[in-house]
């Protein structure tokens, strides 16, 4: 049971890190954003995991519930907010990527950097 009790956290940590790795190491801008979503999704799992109560139910009063145990509603509220923040960031990031593609005709960071370097040299 000791192992099971931490399994959720460990998976969350590993997911977090695979997303984080994609953000740092990948050079494709869309892939970076996908990594960022993965990174954030793992944090959602971390929060929701700590809100679970053994033998509890979703925190909604039903007619039959006199002596119910509820799971913690607060992390759920926080994560609802965080999910919305996440999709907002992704949408804005994608708009920037689309504009980048139109201006540079590539979405690979290395190629963009190369073009920028040439431009910097040309302007000096």
């Amino acid at each position: 049971m000791e192992f099971l009790g931490l399994y959720n956290y460990w998976i969350a940590v590993v997911l977090l890190m695979s997303g984080f790795y994609a953000v740092i190491a990948k050079r494709n801008l869309v892939k970076k954003l996908i990594g960022l979503s993965l990174f954030q999704a793992a944090v959602f799992l971390l929060y929701i995991t700590m809100g679970k109560v053994e033998g509890g139910t979703a925190p909604i009063f039903t007619s039959a519930s006199a002596e119910q145990i509820f799971s913690n509603p607060l992390p759920q509220v926080l994560i609802l907010t965080a999910i919305v923040v996440g999709i907002s960031t992704t949408a804005l990031g994608l708009a920037i990527v689309v504009r980048t593609k139109e201006e540079y005709s590539t979405i690979e960071e290395d190629e963009i950097q190369q073009m920028d370097c040439q431009e910097n040299v040309a302007s000096e």
């Binding site: 869309v30 993965l38 999704a41 995991t49 033998g55 919305v84 949408a91 994608l94 708009a95 689309v98």
Partner: protein, 322 residues
């Protein structure tokens, strides 16, 4: 039984996530992310977070996938090989992983009712929701009233993203050259299935909007669902026809109007002698005031979320393809 199913889901998520990172095809990565979100939603459901599960399914698997696909159609489908600084990235990631794993060793175990999170603020919400707000769904009570200011901020985050996308992509430089988007109008089966499903999606969206006090749901989920229904219509019939039904001025009005409605409720409660977002003063009976306030702000949330998601989708869809 639940525990075993949970472990099964988590393991599947892990495999999906690794596949997402490894694949070079961005289309595949996007599809896998959709699957990942559904698995995550199922997992949230097991962890008693019905509202979050519904949102993750609608936003993560639905809206986010559609946005990524429209962005991919404008950019590139394949990721070029080669990473620089891979070792540094691995080192940073490794240090962070070890730090977090170290932290979990002292964490309360999953489901432990004696954990500090379940002691202090949360029981107060469970205890006081019936008397102070009297809605069955405690998540709605906390979201809309106890922490209503956070939710106001959240609506404005969505609003910000909406105007950001419109600012960046909202003007159409090649309007003449733009040929009307036909969608899937000539594909009989897709069209037939789509047209049958859309009314039900919209109906479910409205149900989720107005039933959010009683069951899982609320403005965000409803907004995402209604937007998904209309996006489906746009995919089938073409964006131009969809834009005829919901013109741009209406979308702009929805984007700003919902946010104004939410903030307006806050200002109204100030004018009526309460603090900002204190719904109790909106009616002679405090509990009735709370009900009215929650109804109005959830409506504001729903309107802005629908408006923003549709504006973002149309901004991407009407962009000239390269």
């Amino acid at each position: 039984m639940n525990a075993i199913f949970g472990i099964f889901l988590l393991t599947l998520m892990l495999i999906t996530a690794i596949a997402v990172v490894r694949t070079r095809n961005l289309f595949v990565a996007t599809t896998l992310m959709g699957i990942f979100s559904l698995l995550l939603a199922a997992n949230f459901f097991l962890l008693d977070a019905a509202d979050v599960a519904l949102t993750e399914a609608a936003v993560g698997a639905g809206i986010s996938t559609v946005l990524l696909l429209s962005a991919l159609s404008l950019t590139a489908e394949q990721e070029k090989p080669g990473h620089r600084g891979r070792l540094l990235a691995l080192a940073v990631v490794l240090v962070t992983t070890l730090a977090l794993l170290h932290a979990t060793l002292d964490s309360p175990r999953l489901g432990d009712i004696d954990a500090p999170v379940h002691q202090h603020v949360a029981p107060w919400y469970i205890e006081n929701t019936p008397t102070a707000i009297d809605v069955p769904n405690i998540v709605t009570a906390v979201l809309a009233s106890f922490r209503g200011y956070d939710t106001l901020g959240e609506v404005f985050v969505v609003f910000t993203a909406g105007i950001g996308v419109l600012f960046l992509l909202g003007h159409y430089p090649h309007k003449q050259a733009h040929k009307p988007h036909e969608g899937l109008r000539h594909y009989l089966i897709q069209r037939l299935v789509g047209r049958t499903v859309i009314p039900f999606i919209l109906l479910f969206g409205f149900y989720v909007q107005f039933h959010g006090d009683f069951g899982p749901g609320g403005g965000f989920q409803a907004g995402a669902l209604v937007a998904a229904g209309i996006i489906l219509y746009a995919l089938i019939e073409g964006t131009d026809r969809a834009l005829n039904i919901i013109p741009k001025w209406l979308l702009n009005g929805m984007v700003a109007g919902g946010a104004l409605l939410y903030g307006g409720v806050g200002i109204a409660s100030m004018l009526m002698g309460g603090n900002f977002l204190d719904y109790s003063v909106l009616s002679s009976d405090p509990v009735a005031g709370q009900h009215l306030g929650i109804l109005l702000i959830e409506l504001g949330v729903g309107i802005t979320v629908t408006g923003v998601l549709l504006s973002i989708f149309f901004a991407f869809a009407s962009r000239k393809h390269f």
